[in-house]
Amino acid sequence: MLKKEGQIRIPAGCAISGIMDKKGKRFSGEMIIDSISVMHERSNGLGGGFAAYGIYPDHKDSFAFHLFYDSKVAQRETEELLKKYYDIELVEAIPTRKVSAIKDSPIIMRYFAKPKIDELYQSGFNEDDFTVKFVFKVNNGIDGAFVVSSGKNMGVFKAVGYPEDIGEFYKLENIYGYIWTAHGRFPTNTPGWWGGAHPFNLLGYSVVHNGELSSYGSNREYLRQNGYECSLQTDTEVVAYLFDLYYRKHKLPIEIVCKILAPPMWDEINRMPREQKRLYKSLRAVYGLGLMNGPFSVIISTGTGLIALNDRIKLRPLVVAEKGDMIFIASEESAIRAVCENPQKVWHPRGGEPVIGLLGKTVSTYIEHNYIREVTA
């Protein structure tokens, strides 16, 4: 079996790309493949993948589980567990085609399923928390099984290889979504394995990341105390869980979540007007352990939007563009221009300045004034 993250160190940047139609109109995976492939040089063939939203309209109320299995035994064990907790609507192999560059494929399956009412009732959880528990149970408890994605009406398609080959492997030209994100991996200190490729997903949240979180250790311990088991030994995993914790569970506004992950520096906070200062001091006091340090540019998707965020001192590249209803985010401008001629607006967000594109809304680079009252009231 391939070695997992943490078992080996390979001394060696990454490419990220995200595209969204603000009106929710679906488009084929070809566009994101064309975008990410321009940045071929940023990857080294040790991992890549795509997240797509709006792809399962016929099953939009069921959890769409994408799974990797190393063996039939792992598959059987997982399916038994799934049957125990969920009513399964449909089981099928995820369609793939033979691509010479993609090797050692695991068994790749998908399941559309709803939590069994009595199991859900007994657990005392809502269906999202119920599903989070299930995902951790599989990823930590079943050897050789890995939940690739667990959201509704969305899916993650990832592998070891270059992203353009992975797109071909999964026949993404036949898949239509309103949000697409992509990643080309250049692992700097861990091996490439299928589960360790990006995007990382939990429920409807997926993350693609270029960089390295030096705060991984403290973020991981903080998340563990909040019920998240980081089993993949890779830094990016924590971004998905932090987002789930703050946005879904604590119900914080997206803008505030971003300001927790990449807060202003203390000297900047000290120069702020009184009310604003109180807001940021409170955030740092309460949520300090969710601060992400080290170089990163990330694209996070929630299903209702696309969020781009850089580390505070901007140690990684990030470019955003808009044209009509489309939002484009990428590590390099050329990757945007390859799929979008003459964008109306192109800009480089500042470090720590989130760019938020929500379905049906205009793109905001956010300002905290809306939240000052809430926090200080």
Partner: protein, 246 residues
């Protein structure tokens, strides 16, 4: 004779080898069309050809170059002129982060804004004095670790709510000079960086470079120099000289 090359779909190695090959055959004028993210354009050429790029050149444009003149009709990405030794790079648009990374000679002119860390590790030696001029605003860490050279920011297209330079200007800087068109708030300066009005000698140097920049960009020099500039420099030449030598 101008050699036109269509870069569409070409890998950077093939594109750059093609330019090199034609240059060796005596071509001195190039027009490279439909460039999309190809890196290192203009690197590894011994001579002074003129290369006009249409599209978006990739990272490390003219990295380690020695005399190549490049005009980009569009925007550039990260690390324009990385460690270049000589030549002129003109970008009629904006540029990404680390413009002029470790540059040791030549000139880089950007028409619009540039990202973080413009002129990081800029250096100079005797008559080799690199010059960077950014027409728009820049991000944080301008002139980080600067050891020499001239780093100029004009902020010509900034709106009232935008700032010309970001925070941490000249962090780790110990040589060279920066000229900013306008004021720089004291909190934005790195440790050991002094801000003062320009002396006569500074004005002479600044005017010389700006008149060249304005010629190339088609901007009115008078308008540019009508505003007061601020000079930033490190008041200790070797602030870290004794760090490892107690």
């Amino acid at each position: 004779m101008v050699k036109t090359i269509d870069a569409y779909g070409l890998h950077y190695k093939d594109l750059n080898n093609m330019i090199k090959k034609y240059h060796e055959k005596g071509v001195r004028e190039f027009r490279v069309k439909r460039v999309s993210g190809q890196r290192y354009i203009g690197s590894g050429i011994h001579g002074k050809p003129n290369i006009v790029i249409e599209g978006t050149p990739g990272n490390d444009l003219a990295a380690f170059s020695d005399g190549v003149n490049i005009t980009v009709k569009g925007n550039a990405q990260d690390a324009v002129g990385n460690t270049m030794n000589d030549g002129i790079l003109v970008v009629h648009g904006h540029a990404g982060d680390t413009v002029g990374y470790s540059m040791r000679g030549g000139k880089i002119y950007i028409k619009s804004y540039a990202g973080y860390r413009v002129g990081i590790h800029l250096k100079q030696y005797q008559d080799k004095i690199p010059v960077i001029i950014i027409g728009g605003r820049v991000g944080d860490f301008l002139g980080e670790y600067m050891a020499g050279g001239i780093n100029i920011v004009l902020g010509l297209d900034v709106s009232a709510d935008e700032e010309i330079v970001g925070s941490y200007c000249g962090t780790g800087m110990h040589g060279g000079v920066m000229y900013i068109r306008g004021d720089v708030a004291p909190y934005k300066l790195g440790k050991g960086i002094k801000s003062e009005a320009l002396a006569e000698s500074d004005m002479k140097v600044l005017k010389k470079h700006l008149s060249d920049y304005c010629d190339v960009m088609g901007i009115d020099l008078k308008k540019v120099i009508s505003k007061t500039f601020t000079k930033l420099y490190a008041y200790n030449k070797r602030p870290y000289g004794k760090l490892y030598a107690y």
